[in-house]
Subunit: 196 residues, 2 copies
Amino acid sequence: MTDVKKARGSGRERIFRAAVEVLMESGLEAAQTRSVTERAGVGTGLLNHYFRWPVLRAAAWEAVFEDAPADIRRADEAPRAAIGRFMAEAFAPEARLYWRLWIDAERLAPHDPPIAEALDRIRTQLRSALARLLADGVSAGDWQLPDPAATALRLDALRDGLAGLILAGDPAMTTDLARQHLEALFAMECGVAGGG
Amino acid sequence: MTDVKKARGSGRERIFRAAVEVLMESGLEAAQTRSVTERAGVGTGLLNHYFRWPVLRAAAWEAVFEDAPADIRRADEAPRAAIGRFMAEAFAPEARLYWRLWIDAERLAPHDPPIAEALDRIRTQLRSALARLLADGVSAGDWQLPDPAATALRLDALRDGLAGLILAGDPAMTTDLARQHLEALFAMECGVAGGG
DNA sequence: AATTAAATTGAGCAATGGCTCAATGAGGGT
DNA sequence: ACCCTCATTGAGCCATTGCTCAATTTAATT
């Protein structure tokens, strides 16, 4: 070994943390074992000693999204404030990394069981957190929704679709416009007449 | 050469047609040059003599979607009928192949210029065809929409998102449910109160 | 037939990327 | 010291895949 280990912890932990970092930088598909071992400062063999790449990759992916469901509605946050944040953060520049990871996971899921399982877990949690938030807003009288769970699913799916357009470089789609469309859907869901 | 050429035409044409077939069977990412030459019944060198793989792949992809924009609204079809078809066909089993090709293209576009250009062309045509259909329905008094173009974009994006959920194997999403959500959006866009 | 150009072939190149494995190092227990 | 176990290394294996290129066949022209 050279001398200075940048990161603390055992090789196993360092590899896992490095995997998370590499995923955030490169996305799911471009990420490679060599980038991970390089960043962790370990030999290539150690990664394969502790992990299988598809499993490590899925675990690191899940770690990235671990806190997301709880962040839908923060402690003591009013439903209105949480929805405001949801809209504001949905297409914020800082979210780009997460869109890419998310859409990569959707693409890989059919051929990558570990990713499919992780995606299912996080998606279920995210969607029920959003549905709960919407239902709480109804209880609080902030808005009306006939079926909060269905609305959550549509908001989720529309956000996915809009994020996909931005990532795919659709020249007619900007982050601002995407946010407006998402807000338009929410307004319609609440019974306000549709608009552009 | 063996003897019986399955397909007519020059090697160049046979390769192109084989590429289209392989795309439909394998999707954009799984498709390989060897599958194409094998199916075309030609040597591997011939493909590279006439094409560069990324270019051929994008051209074949575009050929698959070539007729789609015109098929949004068929000749002498009433707007109501066309929208009905749009909803019915959006998640039909026969459409699965196209969803996969579409979503593959969105994924590849950032790193694959030929695909990006083809995707842009088809997307623009599809979206304006849908917007025109929606506007015609307004003119015909079939429905009311404050901004048909914006509605077209939202229908487009929601369909993308829902198709992505199905393809990614979301256990909570079925083709029927997806159609209902898409129809729910259209109803809300037209001013009918939202529902699940 | 001879000549030229175009079509066609397929073994093999080169780069990629996950993973193996024999070797080495580092403690812990006796 | 001796042994045993676990951590660690990294050169190299192996499969994949787009693509090259020298050689061959086919076709048209004179």
